[in-house]
Amino acid sequence: MSALQAALIGVVAALSVLEGGWLGECKLREPVVTGFLVGLILGNVKEGLIIGAQLELIWMGTASIGPTAGLSIGTGGTIGTAIALSTGSGIEVAMAFGVPVSILMQFLQTLVDTAYSGPMHTVDKLIDEGGKDKQIIWIHWLCGILTFLIYLSLTFVALYFGNEAINVIVNNLPAWMTNGLNAVAKVLPALGFALLMNLLLEQDLVPYLIIGFALTAWLGMSMIGVAAVSVALAWIIYLLKRDQLNTAKPSEEEEL
């Protein structure tokens, strides 16, 4: 991996973190996206997309809701995919590096979030002094710039200077290790989906889970097909129940 490539991948990792803070959680961090970008940088878009898709399944259920620490899937996905592509290996290597990175980087984020409490008191003082609006805005921006630089430099150092060590490790993985890691990569998405169920599933939604599963398991229907069927079902249910609401309270007609 050239220095330029390592630096560009560092930019991707930093952007995947900044996405949450500065780009309105627009989902740049998702491994499908970072996998594509890393593939573009390393000249193997197809493989990058495929590994990204597999990492996506592992992390689909992780949500960093509120101040509770989740996983830094942006950096984990970026670095994991980069290592897998540069060593010519697959999902087991991407996962073996990506998952620990996503945990470590989340620890780092906790430190950063703690440290940024300090400047808030500076803002308090600036407000009292009056006429310091520009400086207040700058503190907001500096927090972002600093975050960007931290993640950019860490990723660059790890990929560029750790390159050889990573190669040695990857090339000497014994077969039993690869088998074990592969099984882990298969089971972890189940955790992701279980987490999603934990977030969304209510007792009276269970029938739709069965419908979704059955359509795909027995009929082999694609994701898009299932989405179409379930949107239609949801629509029907909405119309039926809306009429019930309206007959119960005819006066509360309200546009959504």
């Binding site: 949450g20 803070g21 500065w22 309105g24 959680e25 627009c26 989902k27 740049l28 998702e30 594509f36 878009v45 493989e47 997309l49 495929i50 898709a53 996506e56 949500a63 509120g66 101040p67 979030d113 808030m120 803002v123 308090d124 009292d128 009056g130 207040i136 503190i139 088998n179 099984a183 882990v184 298969k186 089971v187 972890l188 998405p189 189940a190 955790l191 989906f193 279980a194 169920m197 977030l199 969304l200 599933l201 889970l209 419908i211 979704g212 599963f213 059955a214 359509l215 398991a217 694609s222 299932v226 989405a227 069927v229 379930s230 949801a234 249910i237 909405y238 809306r242 609401l245 509360e252």
Partner: protein
């Protein structure tokens, strides 16, 4: 527009330019997140252009307003412009009416954090993200560049629209609307119906994308027995479904997520090494 306008009416008007400023600044809400004020500075940053307009003839009032909006604030980011809209409308009232209780501004902000985050998390972390990511995966897993494009569009069209309408509605008739929606039960119904789509997507993904298999094969009396074949006859993707439901039950038992990950990694690694799972 040559009609003379009184200062009061002037102060009541959120211009298009200011609207856009709040809109785009709302995207940086988490930009200086910290454990003390959380999104406080980000919220203040979005509010600043409006506060400057509203309080331009009252420096002390302006300072007090700045202090109000750097107070601790934390919620799901996508519907946050709704709160900003309400807060701007309330600041305008506070400026025009000396008897206005300014404490109520932060009280309203805080009271909206919980319910709006609840709705926002369900939609943005649950439904929109699930649908966007699952569509993205279905293209990307075949190496198609459509993967990331579809993912970003499917998530961000709702993301951008929600912010726009939240700000507009929040400013114009915020607090009344929220009350109406909750009382009429419409919001609940809408969330439930969106849940149908989300949950069906999860069912599909369990069947399509885990692909857990048992590679054990042995022969009894000369005939080969492949365990996976029998499992498939009962139900395709039985092991994938079983693993998900098992983990879901463990989650319901409030086992900490880190502990759960460690258990899953250890168990599945060992099963992989001994050729029980693949």
């Amino acid at each position: 527009m040559s009609m003379p306008i009184t200062t009061q009416e002037n102060a009541r008007k959120l211009s298009k330019k200011e609207f856009n400023q709040i809109y785009w600044r709302s995207f940086t809400l988490l930009g200086s997140f910290n454990y003390e004020r959380m999104e406080g500075l980000g919220f203040l940053y979005a509010m600043m252009p409006s506060l400057r307009r509203i309080w331009k003839d009252d420096p002390e009032g302006y300072k007090a307003a700045l202090h109000r909006h750097i107070a601790a604030f934390n919620m799901t980011v996508a519907p946050s412009p709704f709160v900003m809209g309400i807060a701007v409308a309330m600041e305008e009232l506070a400026h025009d009416d000396e008897n206005f209780d300014v404490e109520s501004i932060n009280a309203v902000k805080v009271s909206l954090m919980g319910p709006l985050s609840g709705i926002g998390d369900t939609f943005f972390w649950g439904i929109f993200k699930v649908i966007a990511c699952s569509l993205g995966v279905s293209f990307a897993s075949q190496g198609s560049v459509l993967g990331p494009i579809v993912l970003l569009l499917a998530f961000n069209i709702p993301n951008f629209l929600t912010r726009y309408y939240c700000l507009k509605i929040g400013y114009n008739n915020g607090s009344k609307l929220l009350e109406n929606l909750q009382q009429s039960g419409k919001m609940q119904l809408f969330t439930y119906c969106a849940g149908i789509v989300g949950v069906a997507a999860i069912g599909c993904m369990i069947a399509a994308w885990i692909g857990l298999e048992c590679p054990i094969a042995f022969s009894i009396a000369g005939s080969e027995v492949v365990v996976q074949q029998y499992l498939d006859e009962i139900c395709p993707q039985l092991l994938s479904l079983g693993a998900t439901l098992l983990i879901y039950r463990l989650l319901k038992k409030k086992i900490s997520i880190m502990k759960l990950i460690l258990i899953i990694v250890a168990v599945s690694f060992v099963c992989g090494v001994f050729g029980i799972l693949a």
